[in-house]
């Protein structure tokens, strides 16, 4: 009865967005740390796909499927979500490393913005709920 957040669509969606964004950011960190590691393959997953899956499965937030990061290029693992970004196959250098500095830098900035945006939306919604309580008790 007093649980105002578990059923709140905006808050649950943004919570999911924050989780996914920070997950993706960790993979990006790994890619950038391993920019020069021979044989290392870029790690990533479809953020948009995972968000869509989360939103459509919104009924019971606790059962949202977690996406498994995929390795770009070639071998697909069995746990790949069906809705994938059409990520371009990445060029491989002589040492077998396919991390693109430009791609990762771009994604780093984008993911950070996504995280901050989701956080802001959540803050706005929380502020609204606090207002409702204050107004309602006048």
């Amino acid at each position: 009865m007093f649980d105002l957040t578990s059923g709140n669509g905006m808050i649950q969606t943004m919570d999911r967005g924050l989780s996914l964004a920070s997950q993706r950011q960790t993979l990006i960190a790994s890619n950038l740390a391993n920019l020069d590691t021979p044989g290392y393959r870029t790690r990533d997953f479809s953020f948009e796909g995972a968000m869509k899956a989360a939103i459509s499965g919104q009924k019971s937030p606790t059962t949202l499927a977690t996406t498994h990061p995929m390795h770009l290029q070639g071998s697909a693992s069995a746990s790949l979500p069906p809705s994938l970004d059409p990520l371009q196959p990445l060029a491989e250098r002589n040492d077998g490393n396919d991390v693109s500095l430009d791609r990762e830098n771009m994604l780093l900035a984008r993911t950070q913005t996504t995280y901050q945006t989701a956080s802001t939306f959540m803050q706005v919604e929380l502020r609204k709920l606090y207002s409702l309580i204050r107004e309602g008790s006048k």
């Binding site: 105002l4 957040t5 989780s19 309580i133």
Partner: protein, 106 residues
């Protein structure tokens, strides 16, 4: 004129039974199948306590490194705070309504 009509309805709480002669304490007899007022309050308090305990857990896990998700702990704390403030608001309303009723019965 039923003095109890003047009590502002406190949704989502179910309205107090109009035929009751006792105050708004836990002695109010419930209609068949409906949770009593006291039960609702008890349930509400439990929820608030639970939310607060969970917030404490999340915060502790964040500090010990068990969980590294900051936003999860933040949200848990806000959820607990919201439910607490909601409870306080409802409590104020109840006290106001009770006083109103007591005034009228004199």
């Amino acid at each position: 004129m039923d003095p109890l009509q003047n009590i502002p309805s406190l949704s989502p709480l179910s309205p107090v039974s109009g035929t009751s002669k006792s105050g708004l304490g836990s002695g109010v007899p419930a209609a068949e199948g409906e949770p009593g007022f006291g039960d609702l309050l008890k349930q509400a308090l439990q929820e608030v306590n639970q939310a607060s305990a969970q917030a404490e857990d999340e915060a502790r896990n964040l500090m010990t490194g068990e969980s590294a998700d900051m936003h999860t702990a933040m949200l848990a704390v806000q959820k607990a705070d919201l439910s607490f403030q909601m409870m306080m608001a409802v409590r104020s309303k109840l006290i106001d309504a009770y006083r109103e009723v007591m005034r009228m019965q004199m």
